[in-house]
C-alpha cells in the first residue's frame, strides 16, 4: 500500500509541481542576477553612459566602449530582418493561399532541413559564397571597394538562417485562418488579392509581429555564422559594406584571453548582460504590438 494517504500525496505532488514552476519562473532572474553580479566590477568604475556610448575599445588601457559592438549587432540584425520578413511573408501567403496543397507538403521538410543546419555550416557558406559575391559583384556595382567581410555579409547569412523560423510560424498563422472568413470576404465580391490584403493580413498581423519578434531574438543572439563573415573590426560601421563586430562575437572571440586583465572578464559579462537586456526589450516590444493589434 501507499506510504501516504491521498490527501498527503496530493500535497507532495503539488509541491513538486510548484517547485519546478518556480525554478522556471526564476531562471531569467537568476541569469540576470548572475551576469549583473559578474559585471559589477566594470559598472563600479565606469558610468553606464560611458560604457554604452564610448567608441574606443582598448581593454589593455582600461577603455571599454561598447558602442561599435552594439551598433554592429543592431545593424546586422535589423538588416537581416528587413531582408527575410518580406520574403517569408510572400512565401507564406503563396504557399497557403495560392499554391497547390502539394507545395506545402514539399515546403515543410525543406524548412525543417534549413532549420537544422548548424550555424558553422551557414558561416562557411557565407565565406565561400556571400563574401566573394559582395566583394566581386555587389560592392563594385554600388561603386564601393570592399573585402566582402561586412555588415551586409553578416546580414545576408543571418537572414537565410532565420527564414525557417519566421516562415514556419507565418505559414501556421495563415493556415489557421478559418475558411469561413475567406468565404465571407469573397462573397462580398472581393478578389483574392483584395482578400489577402485587406482581411487575411490584418487577421494575421499579431502573429506576423510575433514571428518577426522571434526571428529578431534569434538573429540578435546568433554568434558563429555572423562572426565568420562580419569582419570583426572594432569600428563604428558607416555603411553596410563596412566590416563590423557584434556583441556575441565579442564574447566568443575573447573569452579565452580574459584572465590577464581583471576588468576584461567583467566587460564580457557586461556584453552578455547587454544581449540579455536587448533581447528582453525586443520581447516586451513584441508583446506590446501583439496586444495592440490583437483586438480583432
Amino acid at each position: 500500500m501507499y506510504l501516504l494517504n491521498r490527501q498527503q500525496r496530493h500535497v507532495v505532488n503539488y509541491s513538486w509541481m510548484l517547485f519546478s514552476l518556480l525554478i522556471i519562473a526564476f531562471l531569467p532572474f537568476m541569469l540576470f542576477g548572475g551576469l549583473y553580479f559578474k559585471s559589477f566590477l566594470l559598472l563600479k568604475s565606469y558610468t553606464l553612459k560611458d560604457l554604452i556610448f564610448s567608441h574606443s575599445w582598448h581593454p589593455s588601457r582600461g577603455e571599454f566602449g561598447f558602442y561599435p559592438f552594439i551598433l554592429g549587432s543592431v545593424w546586422v540584425t535589423l538588416l537581416a530582418i528587413l531582408i527575410s520578413t518580406p520574403i517569408c511573408l510572400l512565401t507564406a501567403i503563396n504557399v497557403t493561399q495560392y499554391a497547390k496543397k502539394r507545395f506545402l507538403r514539399i515546403m515543410h521538410p525543406v524548412i525543417d532541413i534549413l532549420a537544422g543546419i548548424p550555424s558553422v555550416v551557414y558561416g562557411v557558406w557565407g565565406i565561400l559564397v556571400i563574401v566573394p559575391f559582395i566583394s566581386r559583384y555587389l560592392g563594385p556595382w554600388f561603386g564601393v571597394q570592399t573585402m566582402g567581410y561586412s555588415i551586409l555579409a553578416g546580414a545576408l547569412v543571418l537572414s537565410v538562417m532565420i527564414i525557417p523560423f519566421i516562415l514556419n510560424i507565418m505559414i501556421e498563422i495563415f493556415r489557421t485562418i478559418p475558411t469561413e472568413l475567406k468565404e465571407a470576404t469573397l462573397s462580398l465580391g472581393a478578389t483574392k488579392w483584395q482578400m489577402v490584403k485587406h482581411v487575411l493580413l490584418r487577421k494575421a498581423l499579431p502573429g506576423i509581429i510575433a514571428s518577426v519578434g522571434f526571428g529578431l531574438a534569434r538573429a540578435f543572439g546568433e554568434t558563429m555564422a555572423v562572426l565568420m563573415v562580419v569582419g570583426n573590426v572594432i569600428k563604428v560601421p558607416h555603411s553596410v559594406f563596412d566590416p563590423g563586430y557584434t556583441l556575441p562575437a565579442l564574447i566568443a572571440n575573447n573569452y579565452g584571453e580574459v584572465l590577464s586583465i581583471p576588468q576584461y572578464d567583467s566587460a564580457l559579462m557586461f556584453a552578455a548582460l547587454l544581449l540579455l537586456v536587448v533581447s528582453l526589450f525586443f520581447n516586451l516590444l513584441m508583446h506590446f504590438f501583439i496586444a495592440r493589434y490583437n483586438k480583432y
Partner: protein, 251 residues
Amino acid sequence: MENAIRIKDLNVFAGKTQILKNINVEIPKNEITVILGPSGCGKTTLLKCMNRLTDLYPELKVSGEILINDKNIFAPGADISKLRQSMGLLSQRPYPLPMTIYNNIAYALKLRGIRGRRKQHVLVMDYLKQANLYDEVRKRLREPASRLSIGQQQRLCLARGLAVNPDIILADEPTSALDPISSRFIDEKFQEIKPHFTIVVVTHVLRQARRIADNVIFMYMGEVVEQGPAKDFFENPQEEKTKSYLEGMFN
C-alpha cells in the same frame, strides 16, 4: 414564375465519393426557397456551388451547369467576383471581418464601388438600421466587430451582405447559432425583404422551413428527393422519404 437560378445536371465529387448526384433544380425569383434535409445530405455544398465558393476547396470536382440570369457561372471567363457580389452570403456562424463595426459595412460598400465618405456614412447607417442593429451599436461604431455578441454579429453580417446590393441572398443555417430573438428577427427580415431578393435558405429545422418557405427542395444523401411549392410539399408530399422526414422519422 420567373426563375432566378436554374441548376442543370450538377454533380460534385470529393475524391471518389459523390456529394451531389445529378441535381436539377429551379429557384423562383423573389421568393424564399428552403433547401431542407438531414445533416450531411449536401445542402451546404449545393449552396456553395451557387456562388462558386466550392473553388476554395481544391478537392471538390464540380460538373454541370448553374444558370443565373441565363448565364452559366462555370463558363470559362465568368467574372467570379461580380457573380459573388450579386449574392449575399449569410453563414452558419457569423464571421465579421477583422475591422471595426463601421468598416465591416464600409468595406462592402467600397467593393461595390461606392467611394466618398459622406455617401458611405449615410449608407452604413442605413444598412445598420435595416439589420436592426443601429440602436445597439450607435455609440460603438469604431469598436472591433468581434466584440459584438453572436446575435449582433450575425445581424452585422446581414447588413454587410445587403450592402453589396445583391439580387440573391444565400443563407446557410443562418439562425442555428443564434438566440431565439435574433433568429426570429432574421426569419422576419427575410419575409420583409423577399419582394426585392431571391432568398435561398439551407436548414434542417422543419419548423423553420414551415415558417418561412415559399418553395422547398428536399434533399437526402446528395440527391434531390422532391421539390415544389411549400404548400404542396408539406400538405401533400409525393415521395415516401419526404413523408417519413416530415413525420420526424429521421434527422
